[in-house]
């Protein structure tokens, strides 16, 4: 614990102390300017990393938020004489708001469309800043004077310390945010947006919040940028800057505060590097050597593809040649960025800090903080007593895909406190039915009631909020996280600390409680010893159990298990039956889709059989098994076609 504190926090404190001390020793205004820029870019890149690293989307709009923040501060100080603190706040607030507005449409998109939307926003911003001459002075530029802070005139040195202090605040706040439920939600939605919604976390709202937050940081950085340069031009915030910022994040290393810092250092130093031929040559040769060593190592160990090993060597080779042959390296600025970025993206996808972090983790083994003892099960999953009425009622439910009637008029009643089996041949509509109930699909027609209240339609998130939890036939775990974190993400009602307090680092106690609760659920499904294991290292069977624990973290009224035993080895099936029994003993109502008839027979109180999107039989397992239409549906029937089941109304009732 102490070692961890010393190593991790100690290095950070050392870094900031060193940076703060430099201006005391070196009095060159040039160096001071670079340091100030470094701090500003640091804030900007931490903001950009939220979308690029944590949401995993290419964001080409961060330069626009830098510009918007800068102009907000510039206009406020020149027009209305607003001071530094209010300008910073206003720039942050304006950019957060605009970021949220842009995110609402843009984050419905993925990948290329999102990149395009942000790129368009950047172009639109530049146009607006140029054309709104009455406000921004257009392409002539806007001059401002850095206002005093609390009556003190800010010398460049004091201003640098202000920027550095703000970087420190942002750094700490970001770390607190990322180690809270918010950080887990960001990771989760990148791994599986569907499961994030189905666990009631809300993919969309977290994406919008993340983007708005990152944009707000861009705005704060922009305000500092304005106070630093005291002159603004719309042409400063263009495509090229956006690409350079991306270079910073990618080169430094995504999903890492240190990475953002290293990237910022590089971005701040680049112009300097390019204007000094000797320095540039040394840099190019060093890069080439690195690429060569990494490439040869990758080829020998066969850990990388040939292209991945060779392309960076070629690119850096071109850079070295260019550095010796070409005099005007400044003119080739973009080309040089391109070659460097290309080498890093291809050869070192995790960036410098990603690479360094791995190496350091091998050198210094730092134990993660110990886990609290598991909470009592009664606290996590209070025992429920069955009510009298039905829990789930489905009436006349239909879901069509074009001409395919996947669910074609299903009536279903699930009594409170029972295990209700749902069986039927492949393509009979079981999964579609469950997908409609859990909100993945909007029903074409029909009603779904949970305790007599209509269930929200067509929204996994809202259905989850209403008390339905589910597992997935094709596993939808958050593969980048540990078993414990998977459960913690889904914990209902465990996180009540408001965002500002989380940013201030006051969410730790509830974090411990959430860990204890999640641990209790892992123990319930028999994974108590695997809490720290990354999901991708769990066995297939363990992953199935983990999905159950995660669904239970929702403290649901209705638990839907979609073929939980599919693909399991026999011993695991036996264990699973045991686990489902234990869950049921807590008073939970369970809908179980299953092909293993022995599992169904052993567990279910009632079984509904579907075929061709309709109910063909319902009753106790042993009754259903003997039902002629069920036998016909599974095995075919002499004289009738198996797939063509008649209407459910005509079927003889069994129960």
């Amino acid at each position: 614990m102490l070692k961890r504190l010393l190593l991790v926090r100690g290095t950070e404190i050392l870094l900031f102390a060193l940076l703060a001390a430099i201006p005391l020793a070196a009095r060159s205004p040039y160096a001071l300017g670079l340091l100030t820029l470094l701090a500003i870019y640091g804030i900007l890149l931490i903001g950009l990393d939220v979308t690029v690293g944590y949401l995993g989307q290419v964001n080409l709009g961060q330069a626009a938020f830098l510009g918007l923040g800068a102009y907000t501060a510039g206009i406020l100080t020149t027009r209305w004489g607003v001071g530094i603190p209010m300008s910073l706040l206003a720039a942050g607030a304006v950019c957060t708001a605009i970021g949220a507005l842009l995110a609402l449409p843009a984050l419905r998109l993925e990948g290329p469309q999102f990149a395009l939307a942000t790129l368009s926003f950047l172009a639109l911003t530049t146009t607006t800043l140029t054309e709104l001459e009455w406000l921004t002075n257009g392409s002539q530029g806007l001059s401002l004077v850095r206002p005093p802070l609390l009556g003190v005139t800010l010398t460049p040195r004091l201003f640098f310390w202000l920027c550095l202090a703000l970087l420190g605040v942002v750094w700490v706040a970001m770390r607190n945010l990322l180690s809270s439920q918010w950080g887990r939600a960001f990771e989760a939605l990148r791994d599986s947006p569907i499961a994030t919604d189905a666990m009631g976390v809300g993919t969309y709202r977290h994406k919008v919040a993340a983007f708005a937050f990152g944009s707000g940081l861009g705005g704060v950085a922009g305000a500092l940028y304005a106070f630093n340069f005291e002159y603004l031009q719309p042409q400063s915030y263009v495509y090229e800057l956006t690409v350079v910022l991306l270079l910073g994040v990618v080169l430094g290393g995504r999903k890492s505060l240190w990475g953002a810092f290293v990237g910022a250092t590089l971005v701040a130093l680049l112009p300097n590097l390019l204007s000094n031929p000797a320095l540039f040559r040394a840099f190019a040769v060093a890069g080439f050597a690195m690429a060569l060593v990494a490439g040869v190592r990758g080829l020998v160990r066969r850990s990388t593809r040939p292209f991945q090993a060779l392309a960076p060597v070629v690119a850096m080779g071109v850079l070295v040649l260019g550095s010796f042959l070409e005099k005007n390296t400044e003119d080739w600025r973009k080309g040089i960025f391109a070659l460097m970025l290309f080498s890093v993206v291809v050869g070192l996808p995790e960036g410098l800090m990603g690479f360094a972090a791995k190496a350091l983790a091998r050198l210094f083994r730092v134990e993660p903080p110990s886990l609290p003892p598991a909470a009592a099960l009664d606290e996590v999953l209070p025992a429920m007593t069955a009510g009298a009425g039905p829990l789930l009622e489905v009436r006349g439910l239909q879901r069509h895909f074009g001409g395919v009637r996947a669910v074609d008029g299903v009536d279903l009643t699930v009594r409170d406190g029972t295990i209700h089996g749902l069986i039927g041949p492949n393509g009979s509509g079981k999964s579609t039915l469950v997908n409609v109930v859990s909100g993945l699909y909007t029903p074409t027609a029909g009603e779904i009631l949970l305790r007599g209240v209509p269930l929200p339609r067509g929204s996994l998130f809202k259905a989850a909020q209403a008390g339905v939890a589910r597992t997935f036939q094709n596993l939808q775990l958050f593969s980048g996280m540990t078993a414990l974190e998977n459960v913690m993400v889904a914990l209902r009602g465990a996180y009540r600390t408001p965002l500002p307090l989380v940013l201030a680092g006051l969410g730790r106690t509830e974090e411990r409680r959430a860990q204890a609760q999640a641990l209790a659920l892992l123990e319930l499904v028999g994974l108590g010893g695997e809490a720290r294991t990354p999901v991708k290292d769990l066995t297939y069977g363990a992953q199935r159990f983990l999905e159950m624990a995660r669904a239970l973290a929702r403290k649901p009224e209705l638990l839907v298990l979609d073929e939980p035993a599919a693909g399991l080895a026999h011993p695991d099936v036996v264990r699973q039956v045991e686990v489902i029994r234990r869950i049921h003993a807590r008073g939970l109502t369970i809908v179980l889709i299953e092909h293993h008839m022995d599992v169904v027979t052993e567990l279910c109180d009632v079984v509904t059989v579907l075929d061709g999107g309709r109910v063909i039989a319902e009753g106790r397992p042993d009754q259903v098994k003997r039902h002629p239409r069920v036998i016909a549906a599974y095995l075919g029937h002499p004289g009738t076609e198996a797939g063509e089941a008649g209407p459910a109304e005509g079927a003889p009732a069994v129960s």
């Binding site: 290419v58 469309q113 639109l124 495509y239």
Partner: protein, 292 residues
């Protein structure tokens, strides 16, 4: 404002819009086979135009330069595929977004240093004298854009439908895995789509250069609008891009007429963001059913 001027500006704008549509069509070609697009497509347009201009300056006749320019465009397309796209597709990542931006940036820098930063005229035998059609003046160059865009799109569509290679293309677009199981090489088809996309970019460059002049930044505004067209129409919408391109071009002309020339880029960008808010898959795009 007299109606004839408004009509004139709308028609000229619409004809420019066809060029956006053509570049957007290039995005569709690669999106169909690999769900990826080249973010540096504008640089392909620009570099192809520069190379064609250089060839013309060596004394080659225009009509001999055109096929060479197209060939060069196709080659550049292949370079993009090899350097920026293939690795990312093999890793099933979206790294191609960043990599294609990077490769485009390199082309841009190279063009700046090889050909200089100034805009240069692009000589052409096509007459630029205006002709009056229904009270609207149209130049020969504008007509060449209309004919050229529709011709190249038509040829590629016929190629896709009538030849074996084209059918392989369609098969990979419909279901890449199934096509692979049927013995169609998906990676060759992706290469083909990038070559075609580069060729289309070269056509756009050669058609538009006589009107806009040739310079490193000639395509940077155009490419944004082509993106808008592609996304608004939907990246899998076939000829929807033509309609959206024409409408956008006309809107753009009208915006610069009524709001001010500095705002001419704005309608496309606003349209893009709005269209996305309403229909993320594009106006003519197919909606996708989520599966678990």
């Amino acid at each position: 404002m007299p109606f004839s001027i408004v009509a004139q500006i709308a028609v000229s704008g619409a004809l420019m819009g066809l060029v956006y549509a053509l570049v957007a069509y290039g995005f569709q070609l690669t999106y169909a086979t690999s769900k990826s697009i080249n973010f540096g497509q504008g640089e392909l347009v620009m570099v192809s135009a520069f190379v064609s201009l250089t060839l013309i300056n060596t004394g080659l006749p225009y009509w001999a330069v055109v096929p060479l320019g197209l060939l060069f465009g196709a080659l550049l397309g292949l370079v993009v595929e090899r350097t920026a796209v293939r690795l990312a597709l093999e890793q099933k990542s979206e790294g191609w977004i960043l990599l294609s931006i990077i490769v485009g940036l390199f082309f841009f820098s190279a063009a700046e240093n090889i050909w200089g930063r100034d805009d240069r005229p692009f000589p052409t035998p096509i007459p630029s004298a205006p002709i009056r059609i229904l009270g609207v003046e149209v130049t020969g160059l504008e007509i060449s854009v209309l004919v050229g865009v529709l011709a190249i799109m038509g040829i590629i569509e016929v190629f896709k439908r009538k030849t074996l290679m084209g059918k392989a293309f369609e098969a990979v677009s419909a279901d890449s895995d199934a096509a692979r199981l049927m013995g169609v090489s998906a990676s060759h088809t992706v290469m083909l789509s990038y070559a075609l996309s580069g060729l289309v970019a070269a056509v756009a460059g050669i058609l538009v250069s006589p009107i806009t002049t040739v310079g490193p930044t000639m395509a940077s505004a155009m490419i944004l609008k082509a993106f808008s067209v592609a996304v608004v129409a939907g990246l899998d919408s076939g000829f929807g891009v033509v309609l959206v391109g024409v409408v956008l071009g006309a809107l753009e002309g009208l915006a610069s007429l009524y709001i001010g020339s500095g705002w001419r880029e704005a309608p496309g960008l606003v349209l893009l963001i709005l269209a996305l808010a309403v229909r993320p898959t594009g106006v003519f795009g197919k909606s996708v059913i989520r599966k678990v």
